[in-house]
Symmetry: D2
């Protein structure tokens, strides 16, 4: 199952060249990830008999990789961000994404996230609940063009 | 020769976790790149007998890759961004970066840029002046940890 | 008639204090204004027999005034921005706003906009079509608390 | 005494019209205010025999007012932000600003700040140390054009 997020553009996402700036695409990835890892993971945790299923306690980005395919210009209709999980390790997970609409793919990307203990300021292992939540979005077809 | 850019942090670069947000690191790369490709390339072009040495006419980011090494917190003193050129092709160039200070490396990154004809809305080849400018920053020691 | 805009929050709109940052509220006003002055004014212009009804040719902000009423925290549901016109002059117009949801008012604000000729880089007068468009959103009840 | 802050522009501060966006001016004010109220107030507090002189425990913006005078375009050299205190009340203070360089004034602005107890989530009174710190920047000549 892929997570589907409708991402609203802001006029200010465009830069002086009149395109959505490349950095803002990475912001869009964050919005999709927050929806998946905070909102949905918390809902899943709330419905489960054991705690520990939410990433809100902390997670950090260890790595991003993003391929830009086409310029994107501000418009009223959102872009769709599909997110899916391509790897789950003991202390990290990999997410792939496509930013697109019904016509075009604007970018493909990959993020490695590491669960993080904010209080102790150090990485931690994924809990069983977090693993199980992520596995619900597992799909081993990597986004094409990424390494 | 590496390009050295002192990047000023803003308090608002921090997110709700109290760290400089991962997306903002990609913004810092842009600031270093703009300083190299707009300011310095234009100065070089202005001092040359032939035009065509500046990227301001347009260039787009085709790809980013970034490895986060350590959390960064807002402070008054800038971080240093070292940028150097690791590949020059007919119609693209690759830049590697380190975001650091005298103590730590916070992130290493790589960007593929493509010169772009904004009027015709399509990629173009590097001019000889642009190639020669970029070669002045060539250093084949890739940032460690990038693929 | 008031213009009603549903403004989507982004997680990154929060600052290190965990609230939507005060500057981001001013960004929200821009999004509402762009929806009114670009999207709706253009639709109105497209349906009229005479041109000149759109502000996209250029307009600048001459003044903002904003009163913050309550802290706002990131959430999945949008906030509502109501915008209405409180003054139309020959070469400027005043917009009032409320940022709110069904429970609370988070901020009230006022913006003076000046139509601007981007090519000549100078202010211009409102066209008759622009005036008539703005008058459709006229409501002389100023947002309370503003001067 | 006025607080003088050199504010570095970022290329991305410009919007699709090629000017520093009006919202970003309000961000610049924040940077100047953070430098005054966090960095300098803390230094002053550290050198005093009694605690309580720093706003970092929390302060919120109650109101902004900003008049835009001239368009600003990205450049390598910073703009200067002069900040001074025009009013100190029991539980609020008013700051006036000018954003300028040696040639031009780009904007004048005013902010009412309210010290805030983040833990209890409510406004608080200014401490004596905070008042005395602010009075060091008192200047009753209000920025011209503000109400």
């Amino acid at each position: 199952m892929r997570h589907v997020f409708q991402c609203t553009l802001r006029w200010s996402d465009m830069d002086a060249f009149g395109h959505v700036n490349n950095v803002v695409f990475v912001r869009y990835l964050e919005e999709a990830r927050i929806d998946l890892m905070f909102r949905l993971a918390e809902e899943a945790a709330a419905g489960s008999s054991s705690p520990g299923g939410s990433f809100r306690g902390g997670s950090v980005v260890a790595r991003h990789e993003i391929d830009y395919r086409r310029p994107l210009v501000y418009r009223h209709t959102p872009v769709t961000i599909e997110t899916w999980v391509t790897k789950v390790n003991a202390a990290s997970a990999t997410l792939d994404y496509e930013i697109k609409d019904t016509e075009e793919v604007y970018a493909r990307a990959r993020t490695v996230i590491v669960p993080y203990d904010l209080e102790r300021a150090r990485p931690r292992r994924l809990t069983d609940e977090e693993k199980s939540f992520l596995e619900g979005y597992f799909d081993d077809s990597a986004a094409p063009g990424l390494r």
